[in-house]
Chain length 340, copies 3
């Protein structure tokens, strides 16, 4: 039962011929292993079953589960946010003051990162002028010769003028040139926890020409006007109450509002575009991103200083310095889409 | 013609010896399949040709086309943008008003995301004071007892003072504490379509110490001073006319300017650093990133409120509230470089 | 010594039976190559040694070095920055002026990208009014008929009113409506090189529930209050002197301060979470991201224009236009963590 005519040359004969001819022989010789055919049903069954397992692994695990055949693409995303709500501060300092979006959202653009003021220390009517330093070991003086004109200590707040002046009835400190502080007023926006934010997020996967947004097609406008995100009852609503976001991240809004912090709103767009994989929708999660109670912290929480500049009727520049504590919300979009 | 001396021990003999010795035998036995050498040129040719195809596939497809041998690295990019142009609003409301870059680009820094004002509703001279609510079912009142001091309805715009006051000759509404509105003025910056933006983009692939910018080395300064991006005639010019960007994205500038929107300027740096792959240059594309005409939208378009704060000569704070509609341009840089 | 009973059917016999029976035979036939067992210790040793090398390669290189068994995850990062320091400009123009954080950091939020003013051209007291154009070939005129009302040349700075007015004693130019410029003042903040910035960076790898921050647990608060980053002596300190950052990037602060630029602070979180890989800590590097001295540049350096708006006592709006040159610091976080 042989299919091929086989000639067994002996070694000597092969090497006797010309080199080229001999090489060609080697190149065109086809070696195949001799095989035994074992006609046992038991052995054959075990053998084919093993083959089946290998095929199932390749098709089932590598192709279907791991989708080894698929390319992936990272997300290109755009986010706009719009905060709503107003607050009313009634601390004795700032009398009754009303705060709306243009007052407490910084910057106002509604980008993927927005900041909501919750706690404010205002220093109004600052002018550039000369005033005594706060008393510290290096600023206390007894005569002008203790102060050096033009000297600026990084730990102080201004440039010394060279004079030693009265800070209080009992203390003298060096005079400095700076934005002088007359008084501080303090306000807390406790109502900020009830502000809501609408997050609009569109994602694009350029390689797959795939475009999707977080407001799903089945949601209608009247629902959007009154809904509020809740993981169980309203998981698709893009309007979030700030207090709810913070508590989902395991924090308490009012205690976070005092010192400020950074809170991440994570939108996970990990999607599978295979037809059997169901629809592609965003999954929201919330997480505090700064460190709450570290043992080793400088400047815990989140705050920054900014100023509003005014001119007095006689043309002098004054400013109101605001040290604002608050919560920065960072909308972070991630995920990998697998194409159809 | 055997090269090795082979001894066929019978099974019994092998197991008779000490276990260790027997094990060692198994470990050092070398099994090799018996092979047939078929000396047929036809068969040999088919065999070698098949081998050649496999080698060509590995070298040609896996190595050259897919570059399976290459590592890839994601891009680290920096973008600066600079808008130029001015506009002139001559609606009856705002008399003749001139707008330059410092007026209409927000924020001014020229980051990877910049916003150009196109449509403005200005509410000047707001002061914190008491004024009647707009008439709604919940704000209309007939006597003071209909209004609750300190009550703030999220759908209203302020905190009730507890008084019921005249809104018009025929209607009474609750008085609220808020930034009171005297009048609105409206302006449209139609000339914004002719603004230009210079985009400077540098990319770095830290793993490959590769650095490139979107202003190609062969471009000279005099060309840069007068050029304008055009996919066909000037594909390398980094100066873009806003109207052109918007129309490349398939939109009309003037209709997008009314409600605002978000437009992506996509810079694709997918590069191949193999020497035969030619130079590495950025490919620009433009795409509207927000949803234009959804059936289910809240707050369609793109706008935000911001305020400028002033002080009156007697020290009272007033503000000008601006509701700005416009186009946010997001420069999105992506791409994977394959190293040399 | 045969383990299986083998029947060698001849071809004719097999094809004589029914097709199905014959097929089943083929399906359940088990083919195994005939092997030679060569009992030579030398050959066996070479053979097993080669096998050992293959196993060592797979375990040692693929699994341990390349960690082919590991999944990787990209970093989600949050950055807050806080600049400290003050400067004093004593150019004759702006008299003595003091600058603190609220004056020179733009935007004030302390995001991953912050800008420090180093060189300022201030144009105070601009009002919207009519003034002669700067003399250029297209703006010089001899009579009103040379100027067209409503015409705006993109290269000019305003909209023509149609009048030809005196620019100087010898020249007449068209009058335009614009923010008129009275004078410029110039200031340089040389002390900016001694400002320090505290960078707080938290990273999260959502797939691995791994969270880490750049302030390492072993650092205590008193160290943080006085330390300053230095690659050799203080590599873990998160407080950076601006001059040091710029010089690590191979640039000179004072020369970069004149025209401005963009400087990247790269934080590399490439980590290996295998237990033997040691702790995971950030590696800082610094790099200038814009092009320093290109042959072909438009608008070299980094600057932008912004305005502060004021109202005069009689309600007219004025603005102070500031053209600010400075250094934008972009904190760029990258890296891939490999899980435990």
């Amino acid at each position: 039962g042989k299919m091929w005519k086989i000639k067994y040359p002996n070694r000597a004969e092969r090497y006797d011929r010309g080199c080229c001819h001999s090489c060609l022989h080697y190149v065109l010789d086809y070696e195949t292993p001799k095989t035994l055919v074992i006609q046992s049903k038991a052995v054959g069954f075990v053998f084919r079953f093993t083959q089946l397992l290998v095929i199932l692994y390749v098709v089932g695990y590598v192709c279907v589960v791991q989708k080894g055949y698929q390319e992936t693409d990272s997300v290109i995303s755009t986010v706009t946010t719009k905060v709503k709500g107003f607050a009313y501060s009634n601390t004795s300092d700032l009398e009754h003051r009303f705060w709306d979006v243009a007052d407490y959202v910084i910057p106002p653009q509604g980008d993927h990162s927005f900041f909501v003021l919750t706690n404010i220390i205002v220093t109004p009517n600052q002018t550039q002028s000369r005033c005594p330093e706060l008393p510290t070991p290096s600023s206390i003086c007894t005569a002008d010769c203790d102060c050096t004109e033009g000297h600026s200590d990084p730990r102080s707040n201004g440039i010394q003028t060279g004079l030693c002046v009265n800070y209080s009835d009992t203390q003298q400190t060096c005079e400095v040139l700076r934005w002088c502080v007359i008084s501080h007023v303090h306000a807390m926006l406790a109502a900020a926890e009830n502000f809501t934010v609408l997050i609009k997020n569109s994602v694009t996967y350029p390689k797959f020409k795939f475009h999707r947004r977080n407001i799903m097609p089945q949601i209608n406008s009247s629902y959007l006007r009154r809904c509020e995100f809740n993981r169980i009852t309203d998981p698709d609503c893009p309007i979030f109450r700030l207090k709810h976001i913070v508590s989902e991240a395991g924090e308490d809004f009012q205690s976070m509002a005092v010192k400020g912090g950074v809170l991440g709103i994570l939108i996970d767009w990990s999607c599978d575009l295979d037809w059997w994989a169901g629809k592609c929708y965003p999954k929201y999660s919330f997480q505090r991103l700064d460190n709450k109670n570290p043992n080793n912290s400088v400047a815990p929480g989140y705050n920054f200083r900014f100023a509003r500049y005014y001119k007095t009727p006689d043309g002098e520049e004054t400013r109101t310095l605001i040290k604002g504590y608050g919560i920065r919300f960072d909308v972070i979009v991630f995920g990998t889409v697998r194409p159809e």
